[in-house]
């Protein structure tokens, strides 16, 4: 579902955010992409979702070449960014319908699909409200609703549960598991919550200083009775990182 070879991103000014990353994700997997602040998680995800042009390397995402066929990649993926994309002023039902039609759905089918997705994410009845009138958990579920309208085969979630209360987090985990179980959706997510990565993901990739430094199933990584927190700190060190935003 995702195959990258030597994916690299150097920003203007010479900051090398991602230094040749090789990633392989199989269909139906839930893969956690972990790393300290500034390690290159979001930059990698933005490249894989066509929002950033890689400096070098190759990638195939959802069966299409990332560089040569970006529009086809966009048709097949869903993306929920770290900050979300909720308009606080507009009724979200209208925004969802527009988004569905931008993916090519005819008006009637878009309306039907919006109702389906809202029902799936327990959001029915909230579609006439503007984003500013919703709780954090509801806004995050709406973010996921936007990403699911066109039935993507691959879903990218950038820190999907940051700032949510434990109930909303658990609810979101259930939805993510159900997407994989019922529709076979592949999920590639970043998170700072290692309990979340442990509970939700089949496999973890740990990135640091722009390079993948560890990879494996949570159980494989937790050797010698260590917790995932111990493993993460052993691999990435204990020094504080600057918020590089990459």
């Amino acid at each position: 579902m995702i195959k990258t070879v030597g994916l690299r991103k150097t920003f203007k000014g010479g900051v090398e955010a991602v230094k040749g990353v090789d990633i392989s994700v199989e269909p139906g997997e839930i893969v956690g992409f972990l790393g300290p602040n500034g390690a290159g998680k979001t930059t990698t995800m933005r490249m894989l979702t066509t929002l950033l042009q890689p400096t070098s390397g190759t990638a195939t995402v959802a069966g299409h070449d990332l560089l040569g066929d970006a529009r086809e990649v966009r048709r097949r993926i869903g993306y929920v960014s770290q900050g979300g994309g909720i308009n606080p002023a507009a009724p979200l039902g209208e925004e969802l319908e527009l988004q569905a039609m931008l993916y090519g759905l005819p008006r009637e089918a878009a309306g039907t699909r919006v109702r389906e997705v809202l029902a799936r994410l327990d959001l029915t009845g909230l579609e006439s409200r503007p984003g500013g009138a919703l709780s954090g958990g509801q806004r995050r579920r709406f973010d996921i609703a936007f990403a699911l309208l066109h039935r993507p085969v691959l879903l990218f979630l950038d820190e999907p549960t940051t700032g949510l209360d434990p109930q909303s987090r658990a609810n979101l985990w259930d939805h993510i598991r159900a997407l994989r179980a019922e529709q076979g959706v592949t999920v590639f997510l970043t998170t700072h919550y290692l309990d979340e990565a442990d509970a939700l993901c089949d496999r973890l990739l740990i990135i640091d200083h722009g390079r993948i430094v560890a990879e494996g199933a949570p159980a494989e990584l937790k050797t010698g009775g260590r917790t995932l927190d111990d493993v993460f700190l052993d691999i990435t060190g204990r020094s504080l990182r600057e918020e590089a935003g990459v």
Partner: protein, 241 residues
């Protein structure tokens, strides 16, 4: 691409119409000039000279500041959400600028209507032709405004644009024809495309259609529109937009 443009235009227009008061507020400053400065100007000039100038002022202030909308969409993540859809970047731009152009036309019609109440006597054909020119100008200004908004730091958009708009209004000859200006100022104003558009607009409001001034104004407006939309699309395509 046409379908995507239409969908985005309709969506943005709906949002604009939800805040009708915003359309009125956008036209208040030119209306104040019309009501409080117009009667004084009418003692030395004509309403057919002043009203086109106020339309240019309106265009620069209304569509020139259109980028505010995209600053907000950028901050809230709405723009990025749309950029991961397969919609073309040109459609993402055109859907927005067409809405801005329609808003400008509504405001310009309001301004012209009040102008008629004060003594403007432009022929209907000239007004209609002038408004067509204003639509194209509105598209261009909105496209450039979006390009500036996506290029600059969010905090800089308002100060930069509000600083740029006033000299552009004055250099266009909106309040007094540049033929009255000293040579250096007259020469400087020729750099601004708005001078040519305004001179064409004044000719049309005076009922003169097949003149060199109108021809130059139309040509400048069309070229300005093509360049502005090309710049806007390029910026929408940029990875950090």
């Amino acid at each position: 691409m046409l379908r995507e443009t239409y969908l985005l235009f309709r969506h943005n227009l709906r949002a604009t119409l939800r805040q009708k008061i915003g359309i009125v507020f956008g036209v208040i400053q030119p209306l104040v000039f019309l009501v409080l400065f117009g009667p004084i100007f009418a003692t030395i000039g004509t309403w057919e000279t002043l009203v086109p100038g106020l339309i240019i002022q309106l265009g620069l202030m209304s569509t020139g500041m259109a980028g505010f909308g995209v600053v907000f969409e950028k901050r809230s993540g709405v723009l990025e959400r749309m950029r991961v859809t397969p919609a073309s970047r040109l459609a993402l731009l055109l859907g927005r600028v067409l809405n801005n152009a329609v808003t400008l036309i509504i405001q310009a019609v309001l301004l012209v209507a009040v102008g008629y109440a004060f003594g403007l006597r432009a022929p209907a054909a000239g007004v209609v032709a002038g408004l067509v020119l204003v639509v194209v100008l509105g598209l261009s200004l909105a496209a450039l405004s979006y390009a500036v908004a996506l290029t600059l730091d969010d905090q800089l958009f308002a100060p930069v644009m509000s600083t740029a708009v006033l000299p552009l209004v004055l250099l266009s000859g909106a309040f007094l024809p540049m033929s009255m200006a000293p040579g250096w100022l007259d020469a400087l104003s020729h750099i601004s495309p708005f001078r040519y558009v305004l001179e064409a607009l004044r000719e049309l409001f005076a009922g003169h259609y097949a003149t060199g001034t109108v021809g130059v104004g139309v040509a400048v407006t069309v070229v300005f529109a093509l360049v502005s939309v090309a710049i806007g699309t390029r910026v929408f395509n940029q990875e950090n937009a």
